[in-house]
Structure formats: C-alpha cells, structure tokens
Symmetry: C2
Subunit: 164 residues, 2 copies
Amino acid sequence: VTDTLEPAGADDAMAMIRLVKGAKGHIEGSVLRYLRAAGFDALRLAHLQVFENLDRDGTHLTTLSERAAMSHQAMGELVVELVDQGYLERIADPEDGRSRLVRPTAAGLALLDRGRQHVVALREQWERSLGDATVAQVLEALTALARVCEVDSSADPPRRGRSR
Amino acid sequence: VTDTLEPAGADDAMAMIRLVKGAKGHIEGSVLRYLRAAGFDALRLAHLQVFENLDRDGTHLTTLSERAAMSHQAMGELVVELVDQGYLERIADPEDGRSRLVRPTAAGLALLDRGRQHVVALREQWERSLGDATVAQVLEALTALARVCEVDSSADPPRRGRSR
DNA sequence: CTTATGTCAGGGATACTGACATGT
DNA sequence: CACATGTCAGTAACCCTGACATAA
C-alpha cells in the first residue's frame, strides 16, 4: 500500500488533469491576493468574474451574466455586493429605457486597472520563466484544448456491461 | 455602449485569464460527460476528485483528502456516496489496525480505467491539434505558471489611496 | 492517555430554478 | 398585453470548522 502524497497512477494523463485543473486556482489566488493586499479588502473570489466581464463604460446585467456563463440572478447578487462596496453603480441605459447599465465607479476603475496591471505582470514573469515556448503558444494550445473537449469525438463511448 | 458578447477589455491579459480559467471547466466537463455517457450515470463533478487520487489497491481517507487538498470530512462524504453507488469499498488496513482503506470495487476499477482511457484519448487529440508545440511543453508551462503565481513577487503592491 | 482516524452537526459561499415585479 | 429586464425566495452542490466517537 502506497501511502505517500504522490497521487495515484501518476502517469501522463493524470498529470495533465492535475496541471490544467490546478492552473485556474493558482491564477485566481494570485489575482485575489494581490487585489486584497492592494487595499480592496472585502473582495471575494466570485467578485472577480464581474470585473473580468465589465466594460469600462458600463454593461447590462444580462450581458454580464452571459459572458460569465452564469444565471443573471447570481450575477445580480455579486453586483449588489460590489455596489455596496462602492465599486459599481447602476445607471439608466441611455439607449434603452427598459434597462440599466452596471458601470464601474472611480474606485471600480482603479480596481480594474490594478487587476489588469497585475495580470500583465504575471504574464511577463511567466514569459520569462518559459524556456522553449511562448505564452502565446500556450494560450493557443489552451484554445485548442477547449475545442477538443467540446467536440469530444472520443467516438461513441461504449456503454457499461455489454462492451465485450 | 458596447453590447456584444465580446468580453470587456479583450486584451492579452484578460484573454490569458479567461483561457486558463476556462480550461479547467472544459476538461472536467468532458470527463464527466464521457463517464456519464458510458453508464456511470450518478457520478457528480466532485466525485472525480476521489478517483483522481485513488490508488488501485486502496488509499486512506486522510491521504485522499490531503491529495485533493480538502478536508477529510468533505472527502469522507464523497466516499460514502461512491460506496453507496458500488464503486468503492472500505476495508481494514492490513498494516494499521486503527485505520481503513478506501478501495475501488470491480465497478470502480472499470470507471477508473474508462476515465483514464478518455483522458489519454483527449491528450492524443490535443497533441494532434497542436501545430507548433507539444502537450509536454504546455504542461511544463503550466507548472511554471503555478510557480510564478505562488512566488508572486509582483513586488510590493502599492496600497490604495496613497500611491501618487 | 495520547494519537490517528473517521463521523456527526452546523454553517458558509456559490450559483441554480421558479415565481414575480416593473417598465416599455 | 407581450416582452425584456431585474428581484425575491427557496434550494442544491460543495466544502468548511468544531465537536465527538473509536480503536491502537
């Protein structure tokens, strides 16, 4: 019985799963830690999704929820919290009286700029730490992975019980 | 006012965030969909973490929770559910009378093999869809990214309000 | 007894569905 | 009224902390 911390069946496939799944957590953690250290204390992980999809001149709630691939109700609550914290405001849409726009306040723009700046720095450090490849190549590869996962033509997965 | 689905400030930094964060969801979704289509219907997303860390000859609950970076209580509940579904069983640890081992049943081994097989197929398809790079290079790059995010020497992040 | 292991109870953070309110 | 937008209420899935039970 192995009882180390080394994961089970540590072959290439499992390593791929772990690395891809881990990357999200690492990058999210880094951004959140940076912003909190920069004084945006009350920010929670879920709030990042709002700023990642927010236009500087305002965005409809529905558009935000679509971009973040979540329900408008869930996005609505995140927005309320950020309005309460003074980072966002809701204004009438000048082009459609029926709806409103979620727009960053001055503080929200500061947060947006600070976050982007950190991600840019992260990317630069990442680029420098890469020997034989470029970040652009890696991002291209991740795009290709998404395509492969969606198409998912692993042929027909044989059903259980009657496979041979 | 822009009102398209194109995310805000779609520059390189934001694209990087979106791609890295999206990759996890895509790969998880692909594995889960495949396994469910293969007849493992009742599987939930969280259950994958168990199999990703399970040795074929059994693993302590505590070890599983450490590998998955979660509490042993949370892992314990996932294991209970998988035992109920017939994929896992709990046996006495032959080397330590105090503890038990979580071990895949025959059905669990079938699931394990099927999942691994799919991930291998995914990796092969990904490799073929890559032009100028290899999967190994991308995985190396993701390892480097994790390191960059943890070290996080973005220098001291200037605090708010007193920056200029 | 001390310690490792595992279970039970309660709760927090996240995001969903369904029902409803509002304004054009 | 019909429709798009947005809010309210309840709930599901997931994981956490604290307290406790068990056995070596």
